[in-house]
């Protein structure tokens, strides 16, 4: 059996393990370990006496991965981003944002929905995780919308969908993970998420306004705030602006001077600022301890998937499956853009059943080299490439699109985590209600993705300033 065939069998085994409910991280590690044994044993011609040797080598090879792969400076951004999010709850930043948004844009048709979208986008700028963001806004925004007579499905759908902005707008754990898998500049990817995130928020808001204008009973405007009240609401939301500015200035200085540091330092400084605000707002040991424990739990969850999947990826390296897949993709007789769209469709289907991080980690080691090859390879110039950009540009562009795809999956049935969370927080809403309310945003997301595919400049403008693409 060739190593490619071994690779395919092991991958099938991995899917079977996931289907019978084995936790994704462990399923991937187990598949990788078995695959390594298989590869090493096959090198010795399946000699019965060599099986124990093959097992020892495989176990020791896999046993290196957890320590070796998590000991990375770039990955240290992830726990920091998670910590910022938890501290931000204690600092009371979410409520302040929603209040400010309500007073400024509540007068629009579907005004509270629009407020939710923009407040969530603002909170996304300090939170690295989508699910947590939806959970928070389900508690804050939905009761207010229901009190103003908003349609409950509509209200729930807005919250579930807007929560997905957290993974596009930096800081974003998932963008860091993408950058590391594909070995691209983390700062450039974080920067690249900004405009598409804002673009996505504007599309959501437009969608809300449009729907509220057509179906008047979905959600009325909320008016009657004086300019005094509007300005009074700003200071509470100001810390978010500071944190966002710090993170931006540590990645890229928009005024043309030196940036102030590295993304890891910017993230840490932002977290420190939010920590001080939380202290000032009355956080004490009890709250600090639960923020710390929640940070530890979510970080460990993410890192366990990372090292588990990387054991599988180490096996793929020995089996050389990525190279084979890339060759196969290139051998297809169709325009590269068609192949790319097919890959995106595959992600949409896969995403219906999988969670975002696991899906990206499992697929990118194979898919990413193929996409780069599709574009014309590592050394291609923008002019000669299939998608009109060099390899670095293609890596960033594809990354943002794929992360947006993964986020879309958080609101699609049957397994849309954000919808479950929103339904869980509000007893008056069933999961079906939330899925139905979120379905128009499915269309909005499809539009966003089409926009990103058709106009790569939306993605590449900011990182281009940093990298000079």
């Amino acid at each position: 059996m060739t190593s490619i065939e071994i690779g395919l069998w092991v991958t099938a085994g991995l899917l079977a393990l996931v289907l019978i409910g084995t936790r994704v991280a462990f399923a991937a590690a187990l598949a990788g370990l078995v695959g390594l044994v298989w590869i090493f044993w096959s090198k010795k011609g399946y000699d019965a006496g060599e099986l124990s040797w093959a097992i020892a080598v495989a176990v020791k090879t896999a046993g290196q991965v957890p320590h070796s792969k998590v000991s990375s400076q770039e990955l240290s951004l992830i726990p920091i981003f998670v910590l910022i999010g938890y501290l931000a709850y204690y600092a009371g930043l979410t409520k302040a944002l929603f209040t400010a948004a309500k007073r400024w844009v509540g007068w629009l048709p579907g005004g509270l929905g629009v407020s939710t979208v923009f407040a969530t986008a603002g909170f996304a700028a300090v939170s690295g995780a989508s699910v947590a963001t939806s959970a928070v806004f389900a508690r804050i925004a939905i009761p207010e919308m229901l009190a103003e007579g908003y349609d409950k499905r509509f209200a729930a759908g807005v919250v579930a969908a807007a929560g997905t902005l957290a993974s596009l707008i930096p800081p974003s754990a998932i963008l860091v993970i993408y950058a590391i898998i594909v070995e691209q500049d983390v700062g450039a990817l974080l920067l690249a998420g900004f405009i598409p995130g804002a673009f996505s928020a504007v599309i959501y808001a437009t969608m809300v306004i449009g729907m509220a204008m057509v179906w008047k009973k979905l959600g009325p405007p909320v008016t009657g705030f004086s300019w005094g009240e509007r300005f009074a609401a700003l200071p509470g939301a100001l810390p978010i602006v500071f944190v966002v500015l710090i993170i931006i200035f540590f990645i890229y200085n928009p005024f043309g001077g030196d940036a102030w540091g590295t993304p890891s330092e910017g993230g840490a400084l932002g977290a420190f600022l939010v920590f001080l605000i939380a202290l000032w707002r009355g956080m004490r040991w009890k709250e600090f301890k639960s923020a710390i424990l929640e940070t530890a739990k979510l970080s460990v969850m993410i890192f366990t998937i990372i090292w588990g999947v990387l054991i599988y990826v180490r096996f793929l390296g020995f089996a050389d499956l990525p190279g084979a897949f890339s060759d196969w993709i290139q051998s297809l007789h169709q325009p590269p853009m068609v192949t790319l769209l097919l890959i995106l469709c595959a992600y949409a289907i896969l995403g219906m059943f999988m969670d975002a991080i696991g899906m990206l980690l499992l697929t990118l080691p194979i898919v990413f080299p193929a996409v780069i090859a599709l574009n014309g390879g590592e050394a291609v110039t923008a002019a000669e490439s299939a998608f009109g950009m060099n390899a670095t540009g293609c890596a960033i562009w594809f990354g943002i699109i794929v992360v947006k795809m993964a986020e879309l999956c958080l609101i699609t049935p049957p397994i849309g985590l954000n919808c479950f969370v929103v339904a869980g927080v509000r007893p008056e809403l069933s999961v079906q209600d939330v899925f139905r309310g979120a379905s128009p945003f499915f269309v909005a997301d499809a539009l966003t993705i089409a926009g990103l595919v058709a106009f790569p400049a939306i993605v590449l403008y900011l990182p281009g300033l940093l990298l000079g693409l």
Binding site: A296, S299, V421
Partner: protein, 213 residues
């Protein structure tokens, strides 16, 4: 995708062992969380030192790499006790009673086998970096300031060892449930319906607004 679940407790020996181990797991997770906080302070010190005293922290990257296994791995069993590791329960979630416990037992046994092997492999990884006969017992050190790496490598087998104990508890719990056919056994994570599960997720962020005032 389930990200959390609940564990029932009673006065049985298994449940008492479960809770005792959970206390150990919580302490380990707390260390991991404090390491995140330490990482943040380290970065602040580094930026401050550089900009205000022209004295950057020597070996900043080495220290981060050293701290990461504590953050990433020490709490692995804590997370598992709380059912925090992501799984797809769309199929097993439909099973009830013995059929469910059989699948859970099977999958837990596989994970236990995996973790015992990885315990061996990560211990060997630690062993290659540790040598009692050398200064600081170090046979592997970091690139810039030569920090001995064995403590960071030791974290992995320690955390995996605790996880193995946790998995043994789960194996016993599921095996007993399969034997007796009970509907809701103790000391193992139970699959929740979507609503209960989401309520659990949300619990993590609930009460913050109120508490914070």
């Amino acid at each position: 995708m389930a990200g959390s679940s609940s564990v029932l407790e009673d006065g049985s020996t298994l449940s008492r062992i479960d809770r005792a181990l959970f206390r150990v797991e919580t302490v380990l997770a707390l260390f991991g969380g404090l390491a995140v906080f330490g990482l943040m302070l380290l970065a602040v010190a580094s930026v401050g030192g550089r900009n205000f005293f022209n004295q950057p922290l020597r070996g900043y990257v080495d220290w981060i790499q050293f701290a990461m296994p504590f953050i990433a791995i020490l709490g692995v069993s804590y997370c598992h006790r709380l059912g925090g590791h992501i799984r797809m329960d769309i199929l097993v979630g439909r099973l009830r009673g013995r059929a469910l416990w059989l699948f859970e037992l099977l999958s837990t046994l596989l994970v236990l086998a995996l973790m015992i092997l990885l315990l061996w492999g990560s211990w060997a990884h630690f062993g290659r970096s540790f040598d009692l006969g050398r200064p600081l017992w170090s046979a592997d050190s970091s690139i810039d300031i030569g920090l001995p790496l064995w403590p960071a490598k030791l974290v992995v087998p320690v955390a995996f060892g605790v996880l193995c104990l946790r998995l043994v508890i789960h194996v016993i719990g599921y095996a007993r449930a399969f034997a007796t056919g009970v509907e809701r056994p103790v000391a193992v994570p139970l699959i929740e319906d979507a609503a209960a599960q989401a309520a659990h997720e949300a619990e993590a962020v609930s009460g913050f607004e109120e508490d914070a005032r």
